[in-house]
């Protein structure tokens, strides 16, 4: 997959997370993987259509999800990955994808995004296209994955 399709997701992660108050965030690695995605515990799936078509899937451990939720809720303690925490992580995935979509627009690539679907437990996912880019990000030393599965429409 073209690198220019992954860059907006990396930038969006770095910008949005720092705006939310995370200091310790960086990109660890970018790797092309097959269509099979092993879930780290929590995933959020969003569909994309427009000049590009496919999905972006955010993956993180429950620990990481709770940390995100806690920071988004002004430092409130989050012990359980409950409804409120799930809602916060869904909202983050929306913000990340919308920000990436805005960057695509500035590259004259039009994209529209669907509502997010959040799933958790022990499972695997299979993307619709053979090639998926796995962007491994770090957030307070916890891995946060962005799986980008996009093709030109």
């Amino acid at each position: 997959m073209n690198q220019k399709y992954t860059e907006p997701f990396i930038n969006s992660f770095l910008n949005v997370l720092s705006q939310l108050g995370f200091d310790n965030i960086h990109k660890e690695s970018v790797q092309e993987i097959g269509k099979n995605i092993e879930s780290p515990g929590v995933i959020v799936i969003l569909g994309i259509v427009g000049d590009l078509r496919g999905n972006v899937i955010y993956g993180m451990s429950e620990e990481c999800a709770k940390k995100i939720a806690s920071t988004m809720m002004m430092g409130m303690e989050v012990n359980e990955f409950d409804e409120m925490a799930q809602s916060a992580v869904s909202e983050l995935s929306n913000m990340l994808t919308a920000t990436a979509s805005t960057e695509f627009t500035s590259m004259e690539i039009r994209t529209d995004i669907s509502t997010p679907t959040l799933m958790y437990g022990a499972f695997n996912a299979s993307a619709s296209f053979e090639h998926v880019m796995r962007l491994e990000m770090r957030l307070d030393d916890l891995p946060f994955f962005i799986f980008v599965s996009l093709e030109q429409d």
Binding site: I45, R53, I57, T115, P116, A122, A125, S128
Partner: protein, 286 residues
């Protein structure tokens, strides 16, 4: 379009009079006004308006607080902020309480009237989609099963509750994009997915990938057909589907949705139980 009933909330009698005149001249029916929180609650309870125009700064209260109170009475009332103050913080707060739109004072009559008409047309369109989509998706699933397997699934009643779902084993997620965003989930046991694949490919499928691809394609057909039918009924919907993602595993929970309209059903088939959930979200703050 039906007559649009409006309540004007503003603590300045001058603003109330001006907005009332302006809205009446534009063809709206201003059914009442209110100057504070208590009067606002009373007015919307008695008059059940479609739209409330809301001042932002009022003595003893503010537009956000009043909007929350109004939505407790009726969450479907569209609140339009009409205020001289508008900055990022207000916009953020406004979004949180689901404000339908805002205009800045001094008010341009045409701008306000256009905004209200657009909000109400959008509401009518969402209501139209809301009344249609469940039947259409059910028909699309029935039609797909009929064409592919010569069988008609036996549907249980429509369920509109929003709760965490435990997957039966395999879940296909398809994002829907258009005038309104949404998603479809088709969920079934792995054994059901295998039986469907065996029936379609006329062999004993042992390959997991083959099974996943088959279920993904079947779901894609259902969602694609349903969205085409919905677009035919009203082209303003402009719905399109994103490619399917298949999620499978021993322990898989589907979180509660953040959608404004949700419908799901279970259907018995010769292959086992199929669970289908569809939902849509209204547009964001204008």
């Amino acid at each position: 379009m039906k007559e649009i009933k409006i309540v004007v909330v503003d603590d300045s009698p001058f603003s109330v009079a001006m907005l009332t005149n302006m809205l009446t001249e534009s063809g709206f029916n201003v059914v009442g006004s209110a100057n504070n929180l208590e009067e606002s609650i009373d007015a919307v309870t008695r008059l059940n308006p479609d739209v409330v125009t809301m001042d932002m700064t009022m003595v003893g209260t503010n537009g956000i607080e009043c909007t929350k109170a109004i939505h407790l009475v009726n969450p479907n009332i569209k609140v339009v902020i009409v205020s001289s103050m508008m900055d990022e913080e207000i916009e953020r707060d406004a979004r949180k309480v689901k404000i339908a739109g805002y205009v800045q004072k001094p008010v341009d009559s045409e701008e306000l009237s256009l905004l209200i008409n657009r909000i109400m047309a959008d509401e009518e369109l969402f209501t139209e989609l809301d009344g249609l989509y469940y039947t259409v998706f059910k028909e699309a699933l029935t039609d797909t099963c009929n064409k592919l397997f010569k069988m008609v699934p036996d549907f249980q009643q429509e369920d509109n509750s929003n709760k965490v779902q435990v997957s039966r084993g395999v879940s296909v997620v398809i994002g829907i994009i258009g005038r309104y965003g949404g998603r479809m989930i088709l969920d079934m046991a792995y054994d059901t997915a295998k039986k469907i694949t065996d029936s379609l490919l006329k062999k004993d499928s042992q390959n997991k990938e083959e099974i996943i691809n088959t279920i993904a394609e079947m779901s894609n057909i259902v969602a694609g057909n349903a969205c085409s039918l919905l677009n035919k009924s009203n082209k303003l919907l402009g719905l399109r589907v994103a490619p399917p993602t298949v999620v499978y595993g021993e322990s898989l929970n589907i979180s509660k949705s953040e959608l404004d309209s949700l419908a799901s059903t279970k259907a018995e088939s010769i292959f086992g139980e199929l669970y289908m959930s569809i939902g849509f979200k209204r547009g964001e703050c204008e």
